[in-house]
């Protein structure tokens, strides 16, 4: 807590610090706290008389019903004025009645939708975020880079976001003229995904696409290594394809054998991206904040802190309506030093309270364990590596 | 051989036995009589160590064994054949017998001992692999006795061995008991059956509501008016 004198603004943070989703928040929270501290140190919210931001933390143990309960506590007992947190899609749904009832403006770091009028999110929309990006990239591979892509198998983690994205992506790919010849839903509790990979191998698609969690990603790539299977292109995201810890989790040998071969991963953040502000924040988090895990989670949370700052600065008052208005008018244009994520059109919220520009990047891994951005053109460092 | 001095014992704070004094001489066959619920089983269990005494002491060959564990007592040769057929239901007859001889004194010669026991109870020998739980009531009783004989006891305590056995077999069991006695084994025989016990035992104790009411030789006990009141509930 920033204990400086003067007015304070209480911001509630509902994170999943324990339970199955703990990885996201545990990576992101330190970055978030770092930026908030920095804002406070630089004079707080200027338009509010230099008010300091005070964070009130809560843990929902990764269970949506508890997100709702903790939010209720933060709002009614802790009297926070603004709410934020990991808030994945299920949590967002559980939270909706509480936000509607208590009229609390909220910023989710990761939700894929925003059903309450009071909620805005930095997460990728399932449809125009995840599904569109993956589809566009696959089409670009086929049309611009002349990869042979006629058939696809949907390989995705079988949980809520995985299923949602899969639904949209399947339609989009079909519309783009790719034939879907099968599905390989990854059991998110499985010990090993070799069986799923055997299934993929037997279908021999040109491309395997879908949303994959970090843990399933590790198991999937490992299975690919085990079966020495390289006949398909693997295009997917996000954590399971591009998390920076992926290489470490797979080990150098497996990493080199599968990550650098016929694999492209979607991500909102890459150390190699040609975005100055992103490079700067990485360096800052690494060198000044001394964080040991800097991945998508950290960047996304840092971005959330900056969005909150702008909302608080621009709001006429700390009343619910004024805060909502401020959310609607958030604008962090491309080139702004506070834009940490890769958005060629800058960061604004659309009518549905999701990001207007939901797009992301695609990267490929180099044998030196670095990432190179290959899509979209705006950020691309190199063209996609040809099929091995 | 075995002396009980001022033993008080019970369950959950309720006294079942009060101030018991009992003595077993070397090689003696002593009967312990008493009505239903008098506390006979409780006393035997105190000797085996599965019921913890509240007061008093138990001496075995001069050594105070009051605080010893059941295992230590078995190792010293104090062996019980329990009532109620406490066999191991999901083990074969053979395994039940082997477990009877698991203590370190009996173990070396338990294979030979098993032969002897099976000679005594041929019915068990026919069914070595049958699970004890599926035996008839009387067969389980035989097994319990046979298992007790496996333990190479110095003092053998039998809790109602005649229970549920056919008359013919009861005779047979008592013949075995007499023979063991003749071979020098010290035996404590708990029974309901007054006549049978008095015929075989050298001395008897009669328990009445947790206390020793009568003690002495067969005739003395038989003729004591208190036996009738204690045992026959007249």
């Amino acid at each position: 807590r920033a204990g400086a004198a003067g007015p304070t603004i209480r911001v509630g943070v509902v994170n999943s610090m324990s339970g199955g989703l703990a990885a996201y928040a545990q990576e992101g929270q330190p970055a978030f706290e770092y930026i908030i501290k920095k804002i406070n140190a630089e004079g707080g919210i200027k338009s509010k008389g230099g008010a300091q931001i005070e964070l009130v933390m809560a843990d929902d143990t990764s269970q949506p019903a508890r997100t709702a309960a903790e939010a209720r506590r933060l709002i009614t007992e802790e009297k926070v004025q603004l709410l934020t947190g990991t808030i994945l899609s299920a949590q967002m749904l559980a939270l909706t009645p509480v936000l509607d009832e208590l009229k609390m403006p909220t910023l989710s770091v990761w939700a894929g939708g925003a059903r309450s009028d009071y909620m805005f999110t930095l997460g990728y929309p399932y449809d125009r975020g995840y599904a569109q990006t993956i589809n566009d990239f696959i089409v670009a591979l086929r049309d611009e880079h002349k990869f042979k892509i006629k058939t696809a198998v949907m390989g995705y983690s079988n949980y809520e976001a995985g299923q949602q994205v899969n639904k949209f992506l399947t339609e989009k790919l079909k519309a783009s003229g790719v034939e879907i010849i099968g599905e390989a839903a990854l059991d998110i509790r499985a010990q090993d995904q070799t069986s799923a990979m055997v299934r993929i191998r037997s279908l021999k698609p040109d491309v395997v696409a879908g949303l994959v969690t970090p843990r399933d990603g590790i198991l999937l790539h490992q299975a690919r290594y085990n079966l020495n299977y390289h006949d398909s292109l693997f295009c997917g995201g996000t954590g399971g394809y591009t998390d920076l810890s992926l290489w470490k989790d797979l080990g150098p040998e497996v990493g080199k054998a599968v990550l650098t071969k016929n694999l492209f991963g979607m991500t909102g953040f890459s150390p190699g991206a040609k975005v100055d502000s992103m490079q700067k924040i990485i360096a800052e988090l690494r060198d000044i904040a001394k964080l040991d895990r800097i991945g998508q989670g950290a960047i996304q949370y840092a971005q959330a802190a900056r969005v909150l700052q702008q909302v608080l600065e621009n709001a006429a008052s700390l009343q619910s309506d004024d805060l909502l208005k401020a959310f609607r008018s958030v604008n962090i244009p491309f080139g702004d030093p506070n834009l940490y994520v890769a958005k060629p059109k800058g960061l604004q919220f659309a009518e549905d309270r999701l990001l207007k520009d939901g797009s992301a990047m695609f990267v490929q891994w180099t044998p030196e364990q670095d990432q190179q951005v290959v899509f979209p053109k705006e950020f691309a460092q190199v063209p996609p590596r040809p099929r091995a | 051989m075995l002396e009980i001095e001022g033993l008080t014992a019970g369950y959950g704070g309720i006294e079942v036995l009060r101030d018991i004094n009992v003595r077993l001489g070397d090689g003696e066959l002593v009967g312990l009589l008493g009505a239903n619920n008098a506390g006979k089983t409780t006393m035997i269990n105190s000797l085996s160590g599965t019921v913890k005494p509240m007061a008093g002491r138990i001496l075995f060959q001069g050594e105070d064994i009051t605080r010893l564990t059941p295992r230590q007592r078995v190792e010293r040769g104090i062996v019980q054949v329990p009532e109620g057929r406490l066999v191991f239901p999901e083990m074969s007859i053979r395994e039940n017998l082997l477990l009877g001889g698991i203590n370190s004194r009996a173990r070396p010669q338990r294979r030979q001992q098993m032969e002897k026991v099976l000679e005594l109870f041929p019915r068990l020998g026919e069914r070595l692999a049958q699970h004890a739980g599926s035996l008839s009531g009387g067969e389980q009783q035989m097994l319990a006795i046979g298992r007790g004989l496996m333990a190479d006891a110095k003092v053998l305590m039998l809790d109602e061995p005649s229970l549920g056995l056919s008359p013919l077999f009861v005779q047979y069991i008592f013949e075995i008991i007499d023979k063991l006695h003749a071979d020098g084994l010290t035996i404590l025989l708990v029974e309901q059956n007054l006549n049978l016990t008095l015929r075989h035992a050298q001395r008897c104790y009669v328990l009445e509501r947790g206390q020793v009411a009568v003690e002495g030789g067969a005739d003395a006990v038989r003729n004591d008016p208190r036996t009738k009141s204690a045992y026959l509930g007249l």
Binding site: S18, G19, G20, A22, A23, Q26, G182, E183, A185, D187, R189, A190, Q191, D192, T194, S195, A196, R199, R201, S202, P214, R215, I218, Q222, Y225, N226, L227, N228, S245, D249, L250, G251, E253, V254, R293 | T50, T69, P70, R71, R73, V74, E75, V79, P82, L86, V87, F88, E90, M91, L98, L99, I102, N103, R107, Q130, H131, G133, S134, R147, A151
Partner: protein, 288 residues
């Protein structure tokens, strides 16, 4: 055809690891009648101990067992003495709930120490493969397969035909009668429980290479283990391995040959079907 062989190999290997997980639970159940709901968390604990040893001393998991097995055995003994034994004679479910509380403690203790990120412990064999014609086998799985069967057979023989094994069963069936035989009931119980937990350290190390671990994974392990143990007939170790193989194969075939939810349902359907027609489990002899 290649698919079939690979599916079979995969099912057998994964299945043997399930069996391996279940051996410890069979042992614990066999002596104390306790169904240990913290079972999976003890496996987690074993795995995270290996991770800790790797971070601190760069020990390979296969080497770490020299330390983790004795440590877990000691933990098992303490858990038995201070938590399980005081519950003897009380309702079965109460003891189960106690282990559930223990599961919360273990899982969150691990979380507090190691954090919630999936973590991996490197090992020399982790990426080694063994290729038989068209079928590829992971060396760590093969090692686990061999060791778990050796262990199962060892335990089977121990329980059937040694005095210690007979004592374990006797104590389970009737502790009072066992005491009258001169069996040190308390010692047998502590030793067996401790051994049951100690084996988990071995299982943890064998499963570790190539498996990302997370503090929350425990319940999942517990559920699989329970299915396998019940399928195998609780204390029949060879039956348990067989149960593991069946679940493993059902899972592999379900995933490879069936679409979506039906595939995931496969292990459960097979389990229910087998239990309905052989409620006593897969033991060789039907118990009379």
């Amino acid at each position: 055809m290649t698919e079939l062989y690979q599916a079979l190999a995969q099912g057998l290997l994964i299945g043997s690891t399930y069996g391996l997980l279940a051996l410890g639970m069979g042992l614990v159940y066999g002596v104390s009648g306790v169904v240990n709901f913290s079972h999976g968390d003890f496996i987690s604990l074993g795995m995270f101990m290996c991770l800790g040893l790797y971070s601190a001393l760069s020990l390979d998991p296969y080497v770490s067992v020299i330390i983790t097995v004795p440590v877990m055995t000691a933990i098992g003994a303490l858990v038995y003495l201070f938590l399980i034994r005081p519950m003897v004679g009380h309702q079965f479910l109460m003891v189960v709930q106690l282990t559930l509380g223990l599961s919360l403690v273990l899982q969150n203790g691990i979380l507090m120490v190691f954090g919630g990120q999936p973590a991996r412990t490197p090992s020399i064999v982790e990426s080694k493969l063994w290729i038989l014609g068209d079928v590829v086998l992971r060396v760590p799985h093969v090692i686990a397969f061999v060791i778990s069967f050796a262990l199962a057979i060892g335990l089977y023989v121990m329980l059937r035909s040694t005095d210690f094994g007979r004592s374990i069963r006797a104590v389970h069936q009737n502790a009072h009668a066992a005491a009258l035989m001169g069996i040190d009931v308390g010692r047998v119980q502590v030793l067996t429980f401790a051994l049951g937990i100690g084996i988990l350290a071995l299982a943890a190390a064998l499963l570790l290479p190539g498996t990302p671990i997370q503090p929350t994974q425990g319940l999942r392990y517990t559920v699989i283990t329970l299915l396998v143990v019940v399928l195998g007939g609780m204390t029949n170790f060879v039956g348990i391995m067989l149960g593991g193989l069946i679940i493993g194969i059902a899972e592999a075939f379900g995933t490879i040959y069936l679409d979506g939810a039906i595939g995931l349902l496969m292990p459960y359907i097979i389990f229910v079907a087998i239990m309905l027609f052989r409620p006593q489990g897969l033991t060789w002899r039907s118990s009379k």
